[in-house]
């Protein structure tokens, strides 16, 4: 009888310990994969930022001949592009991205005043391409923010918060549009 009870208690303890170990390993792996998801989501944004920057160079060289009196717009684009190229941190890239998005909005709005430019096939192709990239960027920003949100909730809730503290995992920043970007573009003629 006593031997039987000891065996049962040992098996119960064994299963509980095994379960706890597997559960804890799972939690740890889950947290690490969440952190990696954020890095991957950011890399996917970065790829598009580079693509948009390349398309932007082509766009500027196409429209420059038509829009000779829009030096301010071109200066803004050049400034935003060089800010993106020299950006090292995520925050800097996000800020440069916002600048480019704003400058592009202005450029496309001003282009409406140049019918010959609007009729240029190369310009139309570039505009479509850049608009497509902008749409993809918007989706990937949303995806990035979802990844960050899932991660931030996880590291602030029980029991994952203990691991997060052990691993020194702090909250990540969301990729949000600045107040400036949310404003409508003012077109000066």
């Amino acid at each position: 009888m006593v031997v039987g009870i000891i065996i049962v208690i040992l098996v119960i303890l064994g299963l509980i310990i095994l379960g706890l170990v597997v559960y804890v390993i799972g939690l740890y792996n889950s947290l690490v994969s969440l952190k990696n998801n954020i890095k991957k989501a950011w890399s996917n944004i970065d790829v598009l930022l580079t693509q948009r920057s390349d398309e932007l160079t082509k766009l500027v060289s196409t429209v420059k001949g038509y829009m000779k009196h829009e030096s301010k717009t071109f200066t803004e684009i050049a400034k935003a592009r060089s800010a993106l190229l020299s950006a090292k941190t995520m925050g800097e890239k996000a800020s440069a991205d916002n600048m480019i998005t704003g400058a592009l909005k202005t450029l496309f709005a001003v282009a409406e005043n140049y019918p010959t430019l609007k009729a240029n096939e190369n310009f139309n192709q570039l505009q479509t391409r850049i608009t497509d990239i902008e749409n993809e960027l918007a989706d990937r920003r949303e995806f990035y923010n979802d990844s960050v949100n899932t991660y931030n909730i996880k590291i602030q809730t029980f029991p994952t918060l203990f691991f997060a503290r052990m691993l020194n995992y702090g909250p990540e920043e969301l990729f949000s549009a600045t107040a400036e970007e949310k404003k409508d573009v003012k077109i000066e003629f």
């Binding site: 039987g4 119960i12 299963l15 559960y23 799972g26 889950s30 989706d139 995806f143 979802d146």
Partner: protein, 252 residues
């Protein structure tokens, strides 16, 4: 003591341990689904992705073996009701599945899906039982002939059989967790407007490939209960079976 008690408790112990392990595997799957945000199809990146959308045909569609309706995937079972002494049960005498590549379309675009190698959770579309004075429909009879199966016994009396089909017809809303990779049908698909140049498939690194007609919330809820049932049920079954086994050996 009845030696069958030892056999049953042994089986219970093994099933309990398997359930206990399965429970943790379901928990892993649940965490994976929770951790991956849903991607929009137009902005899919390479690697493991989660998408939602409607089924759109790519090339030719399949025809369900029993329903004779068009679909992109079907799974069927043919069962026979057999009696042995006091016991009787349904025995699967044949089962099979077939799939064809299709597009998944959301409000941003479409992507080609190759369902080969996916764990597919399709809804029940047709179920028919044949038996005494009840012949199977012509579609099922034709299929049985093709498969060299007979619904009648040696004496010409109908056997009690059950024919079940699970399928995914066009326009079905699907949840997919799979790997976005190279698209071998790129020339054919990218010629179509709004179709991405990647294909969702079984990954080489990420083995997870799951297609379901349930939405994410339903899937997570089902996995939550499976996890609780698996870990909790497996634990109780193992311990219970162990106690019975110890009683059998006179140790408890």
């Amino acid at each position: 003591m009845d030696p069958r008690l030892f056999v049953y408790s042994g089986i219970g112990l093994i099933v309990g341990i398997v359930l206990f392990i399965k429970g943790f595997l379901w928990l892993k799957q649940k965490r994976l689904i929770e951790n991956i945000p849903t991607s929009k199809i137009r902005s899919l990146a390479m690697g493991l992705v989660e998408i939602h959308g409607d089924v759109v045909p790519f090339k030719e569609l399949l025809t369900g073996p029993f329903s004779k309706k068009e679909c992109v995937y079907y799974y069927y079972t043919i069962e026979e009701y057999r009696r042995s002494g006091k016991n009787s049960k349904w025995i699967t005498i044949k089962h099979g599945e077939q799939s064809t590549p299709f597009f998944l379309k959301d409000n941003t675009g479409s992507v080609l899906i190759n369902p080969t190698g996916a764990k597919i959770d399709a809804p029940l579309t047709t179920q028919y039982e044949s038996g005494l004075m009840r012949d199977p429909p012509a579609a099922i009879r034709n299929f049985l002939t093709q498969q060299n199966l007979n619904f009648e016994s040696f004496f010409g009396i109908n056997k009690k059989m059950r024919f079940t089909e699970y399928s995914i017809p066009p326009a079905t809303e699907l949840y997919i967790l799979g790997t976005a990779g190279d698209n071998p049908h790129m020339e054919e698909t990218t010629a179509l407007k709004g179709v991405e140049d990647v294909m969702i498939q079984h990954g080489n690194n990420d083995k997870t490939y799951f297609i379901s007609t349930k939405n994410e919330h339903q899937l997570l809820s089902s996995l939550r209960w499976k996890t609780i049932g698996g870990i909790g049920g497996g634990f109780i079954l193992s311990i219970g079976s162990l106690i019975v086994m110890l009683i059998y050996f006179g140790l408890f």
